[in-house]
C-alpha cells in the first residue's frame, strides 16, 4: 500500500531527562533496536512457515521425482511420474472432470450471486435475515451438507425429484448416473458457496456511487441498461477477484466429491485432488501423488499469473 512516511527510528531513543548512569546499557540498546525485535517477533512465525510450508513445498517437488511407499526405500525415477501421468487414463479423466466442475460451477455461482447481491442492495427490509439465510450453508460443514444433499438427490423420495415432478419433469437417478452425478455435485457446491460470493458482491456494490445511477435516470435509462452499462462494468474488479478465487478453490475441490459420491459412479465425479488422495493414502504412491500435486500447483499458478498481469494492465492497485 502506501509507503511509510515516518522517521527511521534511531537506535538510541531520544529521551527527556538524561538517565543518571549516562550512556544507555548495551542491553537497553539491543531492546530498542528494530532488528532484535524483528527477529524475536518473527521467529515463531518463520519457524512454522519453514517447517510446514516452505520446506514441504520443495520436499514435495523432490518427491515428485521419486517412487516411494513409505515402507520400502525411496527410488529415484526422474520424470517418469510425469510421463506416466500424461498417459494415465484415470488422471486424464479426473483432470477433465476438474475442468468441467470448475467451468460450470464458477460462472454459475458468480452470475447467481451477482443477481442476489443486486437484489439485496435494493434497500429492502429484512436484509439481515436474508444475509444470514444465505450464509447458513457457507458455515455448515461439508460433511453435513453432503449427507443432507445425498438424501435430497434420492431418486424416489428426495426433495429434488419431488420438485421436478411438480413441474412435470421426471428427475434422473442423480448420484447413480454417470451423466447426472457431476451436475448434482456442481449444484450442491454452488448452493453452498452462494452466500460467500454474494456478500463480496454486496460490498462491491456499496462502493458504486449513486451519482452514476442518478445520471442514468436523468438520461431515461431502463433498469437493464443501468445494470449492464453501470453495475457490471464498475464491478469488474470484484468480479475478477471472485472469479479467480473461485477457480482456484474449485480446482482444489475434494470434500464434496469424497463425501457425496466417492468419485463414482465409474469415476464420473472424481477430481484431481480425489485421485491425489487415493494415490497418497490408499495406494501409498507418494511420488506419483506429489507429481499430481505439482500439476495442480501449476494450474493454480497459471490462473494467479493471469490475475496478476490483468491487474497490472488495468492499472489497479
Amino acid at each position: 500500500m502506501n509507503a511509510e512516511n515516518r522517521l527511521t527510528a534511531p537506535s538510541v531513543p531520544m529521551r527527556g531527562p538524561t538517565p543518571v548512569s549516562g550512556k544507555p546499557s548495551k542491553l537497553k540498546k539491543l531492546l530498542h533496536k528494530d532488528g532484535t525485535w524483528a527477529f524475536l517477533l518473527l521467529l515463531p512465525n518463520i519457524l512454522g512457515f519453514l517447517a510446514f510450508t516452505l520446506i514441504p513445498v520443495f520436499a514435495s517437488f523432490a518427491l515428485s521425482f521419486t517412487a516411494w511407499d513409505m515402507l520400502s526405500p525411496m527410488q529415484w525415477v526422474g520424470l517418469s511420474n510425469y510421463t506416466q501421468l500424461a498417459n494415465d487414463e484415470t488422471f486424464i479423466k479426473v483432470f477433465w472432470n476438474t475442468i468441467y466442475f470448475a467451468g460450470v460451477s464458477v460462472p454459475a455461482g458468480i452470475v447467481i450471486s451477482l443477481f442476489l447481491a443486486v437484489a439485496l442492495d435494493q434497500n429492502i427490509r429484512f436484509k439481515k435475515f436474508y444475509r444470514a439465510a444465505f450464509f447458513l450453508p457457507v458455515v455448515s460443514s461439508m460433511v453435513a451438507v453432503a449427507v443432507v444433499w445425498q438424501f435430497i438427490y434420492n431418486p424416489e423420495y428426495g426433495m429434488m425429484n419431488f420438485f421436478l415432478d411438480k413441474i412435470g419433469i421426471r428427475g434422473p437417478d442423480w448420484l447413480t448416473s454417470t451423466v447426472w452425478a457431476m451436475p448434482a455435485v456442481i449444484i450442491t457446491s454452488v448452493w453452498k458457496n452462494l452466500g460467500f460470493n454474494m456478500l463480496i458482491y454486496l460490498a462491491g456494490l456499496q462502493g458504486i456511487s449513486e451519482d452514476y445511477y442518478e445520471a442514468a435516470d436523468i438520461d431515461g435509462a431502463r433498469w437493464h441498461q443501468k445494470f449492464l452499462f453501470i453495475t457490471v462494468p464498475l464491478l469488474s474488479p470484484t468480479t475478477f477477484f471472485v472469479t479467480v478465487m473461485s477457480f482456484i478453490s474449485s480446482f482444489q475441490v475434494f470434500d464434496t466429491v469424497f463425501l457425496m459420491t466417492q468419485g463414482g459412479p465409474a469415476r464420473s465425479t472424481s477430481v484431481i485432488v480425489h485421485y491425489l488422495y487415493e494415490n497418497a493414502f490408499k495406494y501409498f504412491s507418494m511420488g506419483y501423488a506429489s507429481a499430481m500435486a505439482y500439476i495442480l500447483f501449476f494450474m493454480v499458478l497459471v490462473i494467479t499469473l493471469i490475475q496478476f498481469w490483468r491487474q497490472q494492465k488495468w492499472g489497479i492497485h
Binding site: 424416489e156 423420495y157 437417478d173 454417470t178 493414502f281 495406494y283
Partner: protein
C-alpha cells in the same frame, strides 16, 4: 460489545471444560490398570479390528474376555475402527510406528502388506502348535505365502443364496436346494426368478432376485462357469473369456431383459439393505455373503439358505480376514498366544454359533465337529446339507494377488456395464487391459 464478550466467556469456559474432561475421558477410554497378581508382569496388547456390526464387536469382546481369563498376565485392549478405509489406516499406522500389536487384516490385503514387510513371521510358532492341514483348503491356500505364515484366519465366509420361504410358498414354487450337489442350474434359477416377480400396473412390487451385480458375488458365478479371474501365478488377468462373458451377460439380462432384478443402488438408496429387502418380501431371493445369516436369523421371517445357482459346477469362493501381528511388536510371544487363541475352535464356535462365520477347521466339519456349532435357532432347515459347500470352496481369487488397484478397476468398469450401458465385451476387454498394466508393476 456485550455479545462478543459473552462469546469469549463461553469459549474460555468450554476450553477449560474441554481440558478437564479430556483427561477424564482418557481415563475411561483406557483399560483400567489392574494390580498384577503374584508379581507377574502384565503385558498389554493393542488389538485392532473393524466393526462390521455391533453384534460382531460384542462377540469379539466376549471371546477376548475368555482369553484374558485364561491368560491373566495378558491384557487385550480391543479397539474397533469404523469400517471404511481400514486397510489404509492400518498401513499408515504400521508406516508410522504407531501400529497395534495384533490386528484384523483383510484377506485381499494380506499379501500386499506382507510384501511391504510389516507383518511378523509366524511360521515357526505356527508349525509348533498347528498345521496347515488342520484348515480347509481355501483358508490354507490364503494363509500360505510361499511356505511361510504371516497371519492366521479364524473362519471362512462365502456367497450363498438366501430366500424368503413365505414368498416361495405364496407362489407355490419349491425351494432352491441347499445340497450343492443338487443346486439349481442357472436356467432353473432364472425361471424361478421370473415366476417370483410380480407386477402391479407398471410398478414391480416384488422382484425375483437381487445381489449378483456385486462383484464379490459375480465372481463366484464366474468360477462356477469354469472361468477364472487371474492366470495361475496371479500375474495377468484371465477374465476375458467366453465363460465370464456368459455369466456377466446373464446377470445383466436378469435386470435389463427379464426385469426380475432391481437396480442395486436405487434400492439401497431407499434405505433398504439386502436383508430388509428379503425380509419384507420385496425381493424373493438375495445373493449375499454367508455372514448375513447372523442378522437374518434375528429378523423374524422364515429365511432359507441354498447353494448358488450353478453354470457348470456348483461352487463358491471362500475367504476371511486373517489375524496378524506387527513386525515391530514388543511382545511377539504374547501376540502369538492371542493369535493362536483367535484361530482356536473355542473362539470360532462363539461366532459360528450366531451365523456370522463358518468354520475353517476341518475338525469342525466332521459329524461330531458340526454338532459343536450347529444352532437350530440360526441355521435354517437343511443347512447341514450345505456345510460342505463351504469346506470345498475355492480361495477368493483376489486374495492371491498383491495389487489392490485391480479391484477398483473392476468396480469402475462394471459400474459402466451395469449403469451406463457399456457392453460386456468392452467391459471385460477394458478390465483385462487396464488390470494387466497394474499387475505388471
Amino acid at each position: 460489545m456485550r455479545m462478543s464478550r459473552m462469546l469469549v466467556i463461553v469459549m474460555l469456559f468450554s476450553l477449560i471444560s474441554a481440558a478437564c474432561s479430556s483427561t477424564t475421558t482418557n481415563n475411561t477410554v483406557n483399560t483400567p490398570s489392574n494390580t498384577p497378581d503374584s508379581g507377574k508382569k502384565i503385558v498389554t496388547l493393542d488389538f485392532m479390528g473393524w466393526e462390521a456390526s455391533p453384534l460382531e464387536t460384542e462377540s469379539v469382546k466376549k471371546g477376548l474376555a475368555l482369553f484374558m481369563e485364561q491368560n491373566p498376565n495378558i491384557k487385550v485392549n480391543y479397539q474397533p475402527v469404523p469400517g471404511a478405509q481400514y486397510a489404509q489406516k492400518l498401513l499408515t499406522m504400521l508406516a508410522g510406528n504407531a501400529a497395534p500389536d495384533v490386528f484384523f487384516l483383510g484377506a485381499t490385503e494380506y499379501r500386499s502388506f506382507q510384501e511391504r514387510d510389516v507383518l511378523l513371521d509366524l511360521t515357526a510358532q505356527f508349525e509348533l502348535d498347528m498345521s496347515l492341514s488342520d484348515f480347509i483348503d481355501s483358508s490354507a491356500e490364503i494363509m500360505n505365502i510361499d511356505g511361510n505364515i504371516y497371519g492366521v484366519s479364524s473362519c471362512t465366509v462365502s456367497p450363498v443364496l438366501y430366500y424368503n420361504k413365505d414368498v416361495f410358498d405364496k407362489e407355490n414354487i419349491s425351494y432352491p436346494p441347499s445340497d450343492p450337489a443338487k443346486a439349481w442350474t442357472w436356467d432353473e434359477f432364472r425361471e424361478a426368478a421370473k415366476k417370483l416377480t410380480v407386477k402391479e400396473g407398471d410398478k414391480i412390487t416384488q422382484y425375483g432376485a437381487f445381489g449378483l451385480e456385486n462383484f464379490y458375488m459375480t465372481s463366484a458365478e464366474i468360477l462356477s462357469n469354469g472361468g477364472s479371474l487371474f492366470n495361475a501365478d496371479g500375474t495377468k488377468m484371465a477374465i476375458n473369456t467366453p465363460e465370464a462373458n456368459e455369466v456377466m451377460q446373464s446377470i445383466l439380462d436378469l435386470r435389463v431383459k427379464d426385469e426380475v432384478s432391481p437396480t442395486a443402488k436405487t434400492l439401497e438408496s431407499v434405505g433398504m439393505k439386502a436383508n430388509q429387502m428379503l425380509q419384507t418380501g420385496k425381493v424373493a431371493m438375495v445373493v449375499d455373503g454367508s455372514w448375513a445369516l447372523q442378522e437374518l436369523a434375528t429378523m423374524d421371517f422364515p429365511v432359507g439358505v441354498a447353494a448358488l445357482p450353478s453354470f457348470q459346477k456348483s461352487t463358491t469362493h471362500g475367504q476371511a480376514h486373517v489375524h496378524s501381528a506387527s513386525k515391530n511388536t514388543e511382545h511377539p510371544e504374547e501376540a502369538w498366544k492371542l493369535l493362536k487363541f483367535l484361530s482356536s475352535e473355542e473362539y470360532q464356535i462363539g461366532l459360528i454359533n450366531e451365523g456370522l462365520w463358518m468354520p475353517n477347521r476341518r475338525s469342525l466339519y466332521t459329524e461330531e465337529g458340526i454338532k459343536k456349532w450347529y444352532n437350530e435357532a440360526v441355521h435354517p432347515e437343511g443347512f447341514k446339507e450345505m456345510v460342505m459347500f463351504f469346506a470345498e470352496a475355492e480361495a477368493y481369487p483376489f486374495t492371491l494377488i498383491t495389487e489392490n488397484k485391480v479391484i477398483d478397476i473392476i468396480n469402475e468398469e462394471t459400474d459402466k456395464l451395469w449403469y451406463a450401458g457399456q457392453s460386456v465385451d468392452d467391459t471385460l476387454a477394458n478390465i483385462e487391459t487396464r488390470s494387466n498394466v497394474e499387475l505388471a508393476k
